[in-house]
């Protein structure tokens, strides 16, 4: 465990097929960074022994639910925490089955980096294409391709290069040039090049998986856009002391906002200036992206939840319709004419599906199928009409203001994720 200053939180999504050893890799990272506490380690040793394994089954450190332990598979997104002297890490452990695209999209939606696992014996398979496709769709800037089970191919440099070449062919098909890809040959089971450098791969001159993550500059892996401030909650204390206080509470997305900035309130398009920025009872000059602040304005403007403050020279698109890439997550199909609630940040509007354009094959096969409706795990271009305008940016320009979720009006479930085109 870390003894010195932790500066940052890095969230990492993981993707791998069944038996690629993803849970083992995470367990290995926890073990080698001494993040497993003695009672957890004891539990792993005890259970491994009971099962008659001749090695420690690190996957037991992460496979949380009873059903998973019984079937020996991961069925949902789990969050694992560990830290080093440099960073705090959150790993979203997402399953690799074909039918669980939704979990992968979910895990990746909050991550800045991703690890894609490849079994060195199997190489790049259809699943790998899908994992990479989703990391592209979600615009994950930093991708590490961990070529695992190197011990089972005699740590062969040729095999490693072969897989790397195959993956690089895949990279030509992506439409996200800023994405950085790093390859590492590892054995999660034996610990090669995960945290510690392996003696079995003298031909590999790069960093270990963890060394690479440690070296990442968080500011550089973030997708920065223009500042957007959706009003989350209006604070009106109505007390003697703060009689006229009217603060707009929310989170700043995409960029910074400062006192004195000229802002426009949407949808009213009223102009004002930022008077004060508060965090609790302290005033600040600047609110950086992702900070939760309370803003007061120079003028008395009527703003409520779902409205947005933006810089005067930097307006988003204000429209009652849009087209988006949808990742569908429900067993009840999405079809033209269906109505959903679009939750765009903290703003909710009613939406009607105008048209399902085509399904996108999430494996770069380039086969886009005509479709009338979407089933679970489908990805497609879909147009919507809204009952009132929202203030959005394209997803590729703004990861937060360009995304939304779809909510079923009957079940209230979150049934899809959208990326505005």
């Amino acid at each position: 465990m870390a003894n010195s200053i932790k500066m940052e939180v890095l969230k990492i999504a993981t993707a791998g097929s069944v038996d690629d050893g993803k849970s083992t890799l995470i367990g290995r990272i926890l073990y080698d960074t001494k993040s497993l506490t003695s009672d957890k380690l004891e539990a792993i040793e005890r259970t491994s022994k009971q099962k008659g394994y001749d090695y420690l089954d690190f996957s037991l450190a992460t496979d949380g639910l009873v059903a998973e332990r019984e079937q020996g598979i991961t069925i949902d997104v789990a969050h694992i925490y560990f830290s080093t002297a440099k960073k705090s890490y959150i790993i979203a452990d997402t399953p690799g089955h074909v039918e669980y695209t939704r979990n992968m999209v979910t895990g990746a939606s909050t991550s800045q980096a991703a690890i894609i696992l490849i079994d060195a014996r199997k190489g790049v398979i259809e699943q790998t294409n899908r994992h990479f496709f989703i990391n592209n769709l979600l615009r994950i800037k930093e991708v590490v391709v961990a070529i695992n089970k190197m011990d089972l191919v005699d740590f062969s440099e040729d095999r490693y290069n072969e897989i790397k070449d195959d993956f690089e062919k895949l990279m030509e098909k992506r439409d996200y040039a800023d994405q950085k890809i790093t390859f590492v040959p590892v054995s999660a089971l034996k610990g090669d090049n995960v945290v510690n450098k392996s003696e079995n791969t003298p031909w590999y001159k790069g960093e270990t998986l963890l060394e690479h993550l440690e070296g990442l500059d968080l500011a550089a892996v973030s997708n920065v856009g223009t500042p957007r401030f959706p009003v989350q909650y209006v604070i009106r204390p109505k007390t003697e002391e703060h009689h006229d206080f009217r603060g707009f509470a929310g989170k700043v997305y995409g960029g910074e906002l400062s006192v004195g900035d000229e802002v426009v309130a949407l949808p009213s398009q009223t102009r004002s200036k930022i008077k004060d920025i508060y965090v609790y009872d302290k005033k600040y000059k600047t609110a950086s992206r992702r900070s939760s602040v309370t803003i007061t304005l120079e003028d008395e403007i009527n703003l409520s939840r779902g409205d947005m403050l933006v810089k005067a020279n930097d307006l988003p698109t204000i429209e009652k319709q849009f087209t988006a890439t949808i990742s569908w997550m429900d067993s009840k199909p999405l079809a033209a004419g269906n109505k959903y609630v679009v939750q765009h940040g903290v703003n909710k509007v009613l939406a009607k599906v105008d048209q399902v354009h085509h399904k996108i094959a999430p494996d770069y096969s380039g086969v886009d199928a005509e479709a009338q409706s979407l089933g679970m795990n489908d990805i497609a271009e879909v147009s919507f009409r809204l009952n009132k305008p929202i203030f959005y940016d394209k997803f590729k320009n703004h990861r937060t203001n360009g995304s939304f979720i779809l909510i079923d009006t009957q079940s209230n479930n979150t049934v899809g994720a959208g990326f505005i085109s």
Partner: protein
């Protein structure tokens, strides 16, 4: 989550950017609760996690008051220090506190008290909690659970929907994308909200230290009459924990890492008499926090089973 330091630095300790990111996230979640629900409540145990939640809520809504009450499900087996602390905090901050007692559920014959060596009222809290949710028609209950506490908790959502029976269906959870929280529910359902999901035990302690938050005295090392069982140290004071005649009472320098029900919360040997020493101890510690909670050790799937039944 990548928060840069605010331009004007506050008097923050060594954890700045990382704790700052977690604080920003928690404040965002608490504001979502206030905006999306009619009748939220903050479940308050008197423990460090719920005390941290109270501080975060103060920050989220300042200069307005915290727009929801606190509720304590009292097992009747709480450390007296915790109850004193609770009452003082509520008074100082001018908060509304609701208390519902497990003893009442027992008296009403709704639950049966366990007996014997490992008896505890911890799991009995569930019935009292569900009754209170129904009584007050709470639609959101804010809790201080963290994903790093236990394996089954690692899969918990930030907004976790419970059915009419308070049950958690782990296979049928809503996906949580980006930082968008879907709090839409049907009548009778409620949502458990976990604003500090992504905090670790060390994060909470670092925050308490940085913010100068006051916590109950039992978190600090003190002399206590105790006895040993199964390699763990139990309080022999107050007569709450069942003790066999042959289990020898001895005075030890101990502190508690959690302040749950006395009957299932073991102490650890410690000389950490100040917050700095506690933080240092947690850093170096190699036993996870719940390792000192006997209710999880009953079986590997203990926590998951209790959660399915509506436990927090």
């Amino acid at each position: 989550m990548e928060v840069k330091e605010l331009e004007v630095p506050t008097e923050i300790g060594e954890n700045t950017a990382h704790i700052n990111a977690l604080e920003n996230e928690a404040i965002y979640i608490l504001r979502e609760v206030a905006a999306q629900f009619e009748k939220p409540v903050l479940l308050f145990s008197g423990g460090k996690d719920s005390i941290t939640l109270v501080r975060l809520a103060q920050k989220a809504f300042w200069p307005a008051k915290i727009p929801f009450p606190l509720m304590h499900i009292d097992t009747g087996h709480n450390f007296p220090e915790t109850i004193e602390f609770r009452d003082r905090l509520v008074k100082e901050l001018g908060l509304e506190l609701i208390v519902r007692n497990v003893q009442d559920s027992i008296d009403q014959g709704k639950v049966k008290e366990e007996s014997g060596r490992y008896s505890s009222r911890n799991s009995l809290q569930t019935t009292t909690l569900l009754d209170a949710i129904e009584e007050f028609k709470f639609d959101a209950c804010i809790g201080g659970a963290r994903r790093d506490e236990e394996k089954a908790r690692a899969k918990e959502r930030i907004f976790s929907v419970r059915d009419d029976f308070g049950q958690w269906d782990e296979r049928n959870q809503r996906p949580e994308l980006f930082d968008m929280l879907n709090g839409q529910i049907e009548l009778g359902q409620n949502v458990r909200v976990f604003p500090i999901s992504n905090w670790t035990e060390l994060d909470v302690w670092s925050y308490i230290k940085d913010e100068g938050i006051e916590i109950p005295s039992i978190y600090f090392a003190h002399k206590r009459k105790t006895f040993l069982r199964d390699g763990m140290i139990w309080s022999a004071e107050d007569g709450i924990v069942f003790r066999d005649e042959d289990e020898v009472v001895e005075e030890r320098m101990v502190r508690f890492r959690t302040v749950g029900d006395m009957s299932c919360t073991a102490a650890v040997l410690s000389d950490a008499i100040s917050i700095d020493k506690v933080v240092a101890e947690i850093r170096d510690s190699s036993i996870s926090e719940r390792g000192a909670r006997i209710d999880d050790k009953r079986s590997e799937a203990a926590m998951e089973k209790r959660k399915q039944q509506g436990y927090f």
